[in-house]
């Protein structure tokens, strides 16, 4: 080792460091974007697929509805609007459905887009359902067609698509299936399209060919997808020439990026961050009803043969009903969601405003009433104050939730505290998601070794899937409370075939009543969708639907197409969002402390710490040295 060389290298590095640090702060953020207006969105979900059949997350759905058209789209009020098809009609028996495809429509690569493409796409679903696997990709899309009872599909001419169904239905206009270009996709087998681990899997690498308003042109898996405007798009073009959807592992970083203008739109912010963002300049927030809910599910088979519940009481409606009086849903909304949600009751969230009904006799939080009902139902207290079941065994319930839903731990603390007042022990503990799914299985696949647990469901545009979780047919699948009720099953079949909305509403109303009375779940709350966006670069933000939705990440790409250039015309401001956004909870105050304050405080704190420890060290070292040198 030659020392002088090392010295030189060191000096060189030091000089480079100096140069870099001198250059950096002086530069402006806008490196070189030209005049192109780019919409940058941030989300906590990962951009992991461009093949729509493998969609699972909200982001996946957003990506494929930007790339492709649905046969029938969703309008600003979630009404059916022209998509790949220009118009549609059904026969009198509602079993033959005819879709007229738009003439002269082109794919983004210039090829003509015709009814044959739509037929090929729907036939792919029929083939997949008939195949050995029985599904395609992640299995999320084909049920939109099978639930509608699709039997066959034909394209008698390039502008006409005809679909026949097994029973009368109106669900085909809600089918969330993207129409794909046959000339690209037909080169691949069903296996290569549907199975990501198959040889020659069709990744659908960019540039993606579609008829949607944008086409994906760049993709770093798990990081971002960049879209460019589809110049062949048949509909209204948006002001954004490009759209970038980017993944963030930490919501703090995402919020900071929105504040600094590095992002225009974010989804997946925390409730407190949402409240604070509402006070930031040039930032608007949108609180949408989520099409879903968080729930507490009981093992309603209790400890019957083959089921591993710890007590027979779980199978007793009176017991579950009484516990409902010991859950303060409003408090959970305040504490867990910082107020950004609605107290839960039935299995159809208020998002479905045409279908949701409020229970006639809602349970009110009242521990005395809960105790009274438990006494009345025959669950007496033992000498130690603990309630015992009908077999004389003290009741201690195991409460769990998947580790993917960390905020459930807060609900767990509350439930443990409230049930303690009833003399019922609760042992709360989180479970790894995959293990929980295994644990939940009932006979014959599993032992249902659990008492009650918390998770959430997200629904479709139609309430069908949300209703299905309590049917006998869903046992072994999504029926995770093992609840069965003949009347409920009967009503489910009837509502599926009801083509008259009023008739169907009647069935669905009764189903919600049964659900609420028999209490296989206690729905804890309907959590809100919390989004925030900048108003200084883009205008024209419109919620979908206007009274209870959000501008983006709704149903279809309509929110993108109505955007305007904010610098061209002054933005009218966030028209609808204010109406749905409740005032931040009064208790806070703390959240108003600006970031600059905290910066200063942190800097001061760090400096103080360094000084204190430094002084201490110097003092003591000095003494050490003196003494030891004596």
């Amino acid at each position: 080792m030659h020392v002088p060389q090392r010295g030189r290298a060191f000096r060189l590095l030091a000089a480079m460091g100096l140069a870099i640090s001198a250059v950096l702060p002086g530069l402006s953020a806008s490196a070189a974007e030209g005049d192109v207006l780019v919409l940058k969105g941030g989300t906590d979900q990962k951009a992991e697929t461009l093949n729509p059949w493998h969609s699972v997350t909200v982001l996946d759905y957003e990506v494929f509805t930007l790339n492709y058209d649905l046969l029938v789209g969703f309008g600003q009020n979630l009404e059916p609007v022209p998509g790949f098809a220009e118009s549609w009609s059904s026969s009198a028996d509602k079993m033959t459905h005819t879709f007229k495809i738009r003439p002269d429509m082109k794919w983004s690569d210039g090829q003509p887009a015709t009814a044959e493409d739509a037929r090929w796409t729907y036939q792919l679903v029929l083939d997949a359902v008939a195949s050995e696997a029985g599904y395609i990709g992640s299995g999320y899309l084909e049920p939109y067609l099978t639930n509608a009872g699709i039997a066959s599909v034909t394209a008698p001419d390039p502008l006409t698509l005809e679909v026949k169904t097994e029973f009368p239905t109106t669900l085909l206009t809600q089918a969330y299936v993207p129409i794909l270009p046959k000339h690209i996709w037909e080169k691949y087998t069903l296996e290569q399209i549907g199975n990501a681990e198959a040889e020659g899997f069709f990744v659908n690498e960019p540039p993606v060919v579609g008829t949607g308003p944008y086409t994906a042109v760049e993709w770093e898996s798990g990081q971002f997808i960049r879209f460019e405007r589809n110049e062949n798009y048949w509909g209204k073009q948006s002001a954004a020439a490009e759209v970038i959807l980017e993944t963030f592992a930490d919501s703090n970083t995402m919020v900071e990026a929105l504040k600094s203008g590095e992002l225009d739109y974010i989804r997946g912010v925390g409730a407190d961050q949402f409240d604070a963002l509402a006070n930031e300049p040039n930032i608007a927030t949108a609180e949408g009803f989520a099409n879903g809910y968080s729930y507490l599910s009981f093992n309603t088979k209790g400890n019957t043969e083959g089921y591993g519940g710890s007590t027979s009481a779980l199978a007793d409606v009176a017991f579950r009903d009484a516990l409902g009086y010991a859950i303060d849903n409003a408090r959970l909304v305040d504490a867990t969601l910082a107020g950004h949600g609605v107290v839960g009751n039935t299995n159809i969230p208020p998002y479905h405003k045409d279908w949701h009904v409020e229970p006639a006799n809602p349970r009110k939080f009242d521990l005395a009433e809960a105790n009274r009902r438990l006494d009345a139902a025959g669950y007496t207290r033992g000498a130690d104050g603990k309630r015992v079941d009908k077999e004389g065994k003290a009741i201690t319930l195991r409460l769990t939730w998947p580790d993917s839903e960390a905020e459930m731990a807060t609900n767990g603390q509350f439930i443990q505290g409230w049930f303690a007042e009833l003399g019922i022990g609760v042992e709360p503990a989180v479970t790894e998601e995959g293990k929980l799914l295994d644990d939940l299985l009932g006979p014959p696949d599993g032992e249902a070794n659990w008492d009650f647990y918390m998770w959430g469901w997200v629904g479709d545009p139609d309430p069908m899937s949300l209703l299905s979780f309590f049917t006998t047919g869903a046992l072994g699948g999504s029926n995770d409370s093992f609840f069965t009720d003949p009347e409920y099953d009967d009503l489910f079949a009837k509502q599926q075939r009801a083509v008259d909305a009023t008739e169907r509403k009647g069935y669905i109303t009764r189903m919600q009543e049964i659900f609420y009375e028999k209490a296989p779940y206690h729905v804890l709350y309907y959590d809100s969708e919390l989004h925030a966006y900048r108003t200084d670069r883009f205008g024209g933000w419109t919620n979908q639907p206007p009274d209870s939705g959000t501008p983006l990440f709704g149903y279809g790409p309509i929110g993108y197409t109505v955007l305007t250039d904010a610098s061209a015309a002054p933005s009218p401001g966030p028209s609808a969002s204010a109406a749905v956004t409740p005032a931040p909870s009064a208790g806070g105050g703390g959240t108003s402390t600006g970031a600059s304050d905290s910066t200063l405080l942190i800097a001061l704190g760090v400096a103080a710490l360094v000084v204190i420890i430094g002084v201490g060290l110097i003092a003591m070292r000095r003494r050490t040295v003196t003494r030891e040198e004596e």
Binding site: S21, G134, P143, E242, S598, I602
Partner: protein
């Protein structure tokens, strides 16, 4: 450096890699959760379909030897299986490794130069003002988890002062007129995470180098050299430094394994698209295939780095060379 020494180092490294591959196999089988869970929370999937899938996924072959042989063969061909969402793990790793190499390669380089220089000087001038301040700061940096340091820097310099961008490795989707603009963009994104990594490592390396120098200075030959009237600076550069460097080099290599923990948290704080962010994402989505791949990749990388350090050590240490 004798052939025997080299052979033994290679044998040790090979043994360790075999052990890593073995452990990886065992861990992979012990992971909770079953592969059909992507279907299980799909509200529209029928029970029949679920049951069918469960049966299809069930391991039909015995764990040993069939599955083990298949696993070893696949691993040898760098086939690391698939992510939860069906992407080849090897592809994902290949995409994420370079940002981490960039960030931590530079971080290590800066930390080694600054940390070792600071440590050497502190040890040489033990009790002097540089030592007191330097050692105190080093200890303090060593005691601070990387992510705390990163969060503080982010809040002060990106959010508070707005000098640097808050996330990523470059401005997504930006087109650059020339490579210099691109380089500047990357450097601006790199500044804060790199500072965090370097500061965290400087503390450790300075502490080690300092004690190493102090130890070396107590050796007889140094005392002799000084007694012979050699100038202090010359003693330091010619005798003390080279010898004190040796244990430190080993430590830097060994430390790579620990650095990973810091890498993971720093990358998350700055949304740096490397292996650390990938690990936390995989943990959050319980993508164990990815975690396995990260473990395998990092382990082998650290073993190879150690092997390299051992060989370098062998080149310079007279005792080994003999």
């Amino acid at each position: 450096m004798s052939g025997h020494y080299v052979a033994r180092r290679f044998a040790t490294a090979a043994f360790t890699i075999v052990l890593i591959v073995l452990i990886n196999f065992v861990l992979f089988r012990a992971m909770p959760g079953s592969p059909e869970r992507v279907l299980a929370r799909n509200p529209n999937v029928t029970p029949e379909l679920l049951a069918q899938t469960r049966a299809r996924w069930g391991f039909d072959k015995p764990l040993f030897p069939d599955q083990f042989v298949r696993y070893v063969a696949a691993t040898a061909q760098l086939d690391l299986g698939y992510t939860f969402r069906g992407r080849p793990v090897a592809d994902v790793l290949a995409q994420r490794i370079w940002p981490t190499v960039l960030l931590f390669g530079l971080g290590e380089a800066i930390a080694i130069v600054v940390g070792l220089a600071l440590g050497a000087y502190s040890g040489w001038r033990r009790g002097g003002p540089i030592d007191l301040v330097g050692n105190g700061v080093s200890l303090l940096l060593y005691s601070t988890p990387y992510f705390l340091l990163g969060m503080a820097l982010l809040l002060i310099f990106a959010t508070g002062l707005g000098w640097f961008p808050t996330f990523g490795m470059s401005t997504t989707g930006a087109t650059f007129a020339n490579p210099v603009d691109w380089l500047i963009d990357v450097l601006r994104h790199l500044a804060l995470p790199l500072t965090t990594v370097s500061l965290g490592l400087i503390g450790q390396y300075a502490i080690v180098m300092r004690s190493s120098i102090i130890e070396t200075l107590s050796e007889d030959y140094i005392t002799t050299a000084r007694a012979m009237g050699l100038r202090d600076g010359r003693v330091l550069r010619r005798h003390a430094l080279p010898n004190a460097m040796l244990p430190t080099v080993t430590l830097v290599a060994i430390n790579l394994g620990y650095v990973v923990a810091g890498a993971i948290t720093v990358e998350v704080v700055f949304n740096w698209p490397g292996l650390g962010t990938l690990t936390v994402d995989a943990l959050a989505s319980r993508d164990y295939g990815v975690l396995q791949g990260v473990f395998l990749l990092l382990s082998v990388a650290v073993v190879l780095a150690n092997l390299a350090a051992d060989l370098v050590y062998g080149l310079f240490d007279p005792r080994v060379r003999a």
